[in-house]
């Protein structure tokens, strides 16, 4: 295996001046420690097998993630759409901390909201139907799990309301859940820039538009893809059978420690129209 220079002693002369108790330099102890650690370190080399093991782990864990995603790319994106805004990565080829779905319980419909709220332990703002005709067809309580960089996990139970539009096979989902530790209004949108904002009952509401390119597992990124990925409003999701590009809209706001995300793919709605739906949800509490 190719050996590389390691940066030990690169600042040797500066170290004693940087922080020293003085005695170490006088009795030569600092030098002894440096020399010994360097010699012990130099005797250790990464075996070829280590890289193979890492490659296997990445392939295996990548397959696990893809397997989850392959249950339906759109479905996965829908279930993690909040993650897209919260973390900035939903189904990217490489991850960061990512949110995934955990347990889920379906209810008969909106009429079960109080029962669901009792079981989940808190209530959220929601409406059964909107003035534009979208109506709640399904409701569920869903667990959102955040897998952190250090391997730890945090989870929270939340709600999902699935609305269907009149005469159209278009669906809008409202996801609502309590904030996870560290999430707040300042970072909830990740690196994305909202394309529209609205103030409603003193709550700031953000509208985002994102282009989602779904690609097969063996897809190789083009130069254009690489360039697009630098944009904050562009995502690439791995796991579809063919290349497919879709636009999704998302409206996000936080109220009383609960984050709301109203979103949908290829919606026949303008930003103002979907913001209007968010307004109806927010104002439903005071009606």
């Amino acid at each position: 295996m190719k050996r590389f220079e390691i940066p030990c002693f690169s600042r040797r002369n500066g170290l004693g001046k940087n922080f020293s108790d003085g005695k170490g330099e006088k009795d030569g102890m600092d030098g002894k420690i440096r020399k010994t650690l360097s010699e012990i370190g130099e005797a250790v080399e990464a075996p070829e097998s280590l890289k193979r093991q890492i490659d296997c782990r990445i392939a295996a864990e990548g397959r696990e993630i893809l397997k989850k995603k392959k249950t339906g790319v759109k479905k996965v994106i829908v279930t993690t759409a909040a993650a897209c805004l919260l973390v900035g990565t939903v189904c990217l080829a490489v991850g960061g901390s990512y949110l995934r779905s955990g347990r889920s319980k379906s209810y008969d419909g909106f009429s079960d909201l109080q029962k669901a709220e009792r079981e989940v332990g808190y209530g959220v703002d929601a409406v059964e139907s909107f003035s534009n005709g979208y109506r709640c067809k399904k409701m569920s309580a869903d667990e959102t799990v955040r897998e952190n960089m250090d391997g730890s996990k945090e989870s929270v139970m939340g709600f999902r309301f699935h609305y269907s539009g009149p005469g159209e096979n278009k669906k809008v989902t409202l996801a609502a859940r309590r904030l996870l530790p560290g999430e707040n209004e300042g970072n909830i949108g990740g690196e994305k820039t909202p394309d529209k904002t609205m103030l409603c009952s003193d709550i700031k509401v953000y509208h985002y538009t994102t282009t989602m390119k779904c690609v097969p597992e063996d897809y190789e990124l083009t130069e254009e893809d690489r360039s697009n990925l630098k944009r904050t409003d562009y995502e690439i999701s791995v796991g579809s059978d063919e290349v497919e590009v879709e636009v999704y809209q998302s409206v996000l706001w936080i109220r009383d420690g609960v984050v709301y995300d109203l979103f949908g793919f290829e919606l026949p709605l303008t930003a103002d129209q979907i913001l209007g739906m968010a307004k109806e949800i927010i104002e439903s509490r005071t009606e």
């Binding site: 295996m1 190719k2 050996r3 590389f4 390691i6 940066p7 030990c8 002693f9 690169s10 600042r11 040797r12 500066g14 170290l15 940087n18 922080f19 108790d21 005695k23 170490g24 009795d27 102890m29 600092d30 002894k32 420690i33 440096r34 020399k35 010994t36 650690l37 360097s38 010699e39 012990i40 370190g41 130099e42 005797a43 250790v44 080399e45 990464a46 075996p47 280590l50 890289k51 093991q53 890492i54 782990r57 990445i58 864990e61 973390v87 900035g88 990565t89 990217l92 080829a93 490489v94 991850g95 960061g96 901390s97 960089m149 250090d150 391997g151 990124l221 690489r226 990925l229």
Partner: protein
Amino acid sequence: MEEMELVQRLKEGDRDAFDALYEKYANILLRMAYLVCGSRADAEDIVQETFVKCWFHIGELKKPEGFRSWLYQILYRTAYRQCKKSWREIPDETVEMRADTSDGVTSLDRVMEKETAIQVKRAVERLDFRHRAVVVLYYYNGSSIRDIAHILNCTEGTVKSRLFAARKKLRGSLNNGKEGGAACETV
């Protein structure tokens, strides 16, 4: 290719960039992990975990120029958990024995012929994890106090305090030439 460019490409999912960064950092990380945990087998596990996390979590790294510190952070967090799990379970003799039967047997044996080196190694091994980590980063990596504080997620004052305490303990061990002394206390 510059490291910054490699990191940027890694963020875009470029496997070649990952391989190049592995080549650059594998030995550095393995050596750091070995010096901190004292076991070759554990060190390889720690490095493996570090690179797997690097691949899956590179999206969390905001600034490519902070890649090295970020990688070291992952390594030390992983090492800390690994050491908590296994360090106290491995007697000193076993650590020595494992090292002797590792791939680096020839070089290591040569090093161990030196009495001072043996004393220093044992003295460092007797330090608790936090002090060992500071000693390795400071003396082996040549990291500044500020960088160490960043990597270990503590204040510069804490780093100085740990380094001071570690030196004191090391000096005590080396001056006394105690080879079988008790493990140092945590400050």
